[in-house]
Symmetry: C2
Subunit: 139 residues, 2 copies
DNA sequence: GTGTATGCAAAGCCTTTGCAGCATG
DNA sequence: CATGCTGCAAAGGCTTTGCATACAC
């Protein structure tokens, strides 16, 4: 119940959170590791994982378990959904969910006690659309 | 455009599809491998992966990229959603989506050309609810 | 017989974890 | 100074892939 507290405010933790917040690319842990390492060359991948885990528990970071078999991280923990490009795998935030009612009255569903949902759209991002239009499609 | 054809109807392929259809547990490839191996002791994990990939392309099998960083497979390729138990990680089909409108008019969304969506609920399954009620909650 | 599919094994990722030393509060 | 955190490295799991062989057609 009691919210876990950030025990120590290490430089590594600060930088990880800073970079994750600045990025809007929803990186995986290894991706974020490569970026953070430009500022902290001696940081380890394990530290990145441990901090993302901890920041996720606190609620400062959101763990995204979307498609692709990877776990991505989002520096914006507020409620929002995502679109993923099936061509370039880019993941983009959707700011205003277009007035849909996904949650089934928070009751039961097959006997489950429903606590929430995860919604992900997929499609083709603007860049990839251009790229394909330019080539006249054709697969 | 033309649907890829099942080139050869090998015993391995048959058994993989059979077992996946019988199971309602949405197994990962390694899990399915362990099961199939009871019938075909000499089958290899690589074969399981290759067949799941192929069966997925044909549309006989559905690839589920839900949470948990694993890829799971569903022997029922029809359109339906899933609930995942946050306690025991079980994944269950939802047969009748409760009349919701998820797709945003199939137009653009942040410039994306939307092709579809993936919706996953999470909550607590009946068994885990019982287990927790019995213990009077606590943690 | 031809060419696809298989079994085997290696390799590449992602992720977690044990441990000794460091540094935060 | 106590101990949470870090860096390092090993280990485990999932997934893909190259190759020679086997087998479906």
């Amino acid at each position: 119940m009691s919210t876990p507290i950030l025990r120590r405010n290490t430089l590594q933790r600060q930088v990880i959170l800073e970079e994750l917040r600045r990025l809007h690319s929803h990186p995986t842990a290894p991706e974020l590791y490569r970026i953070v390492r430009t500022r902290l060359p001696r940081i380890s991948l394990g530290t990145v994982y441990r901090n993302l885990e901890l920041l996720g528990q606190i609620g400062l970071v959101r763990r995204l378990e979307l498609g692709g078999g990877e776990t991505r991280f989002d520096g914006d923990p507020s409620q929002h959904d995502h679109v993923r490009c099936i061509r370039c795998a880019e993941v983009t935030d959707i700011r205003q969910p277009p007035g849909l009612r996904v949650e089934p009255a928070f009751g039961t569903l097959s006997g489950y006690r429903i606590l929430g949902h995860r919604l992900e759209y997929y499609g083709i991002c603007p860049d990839c659309q251009q790229r394909e239009d330019r080539r006249g499609d054709g697969s």
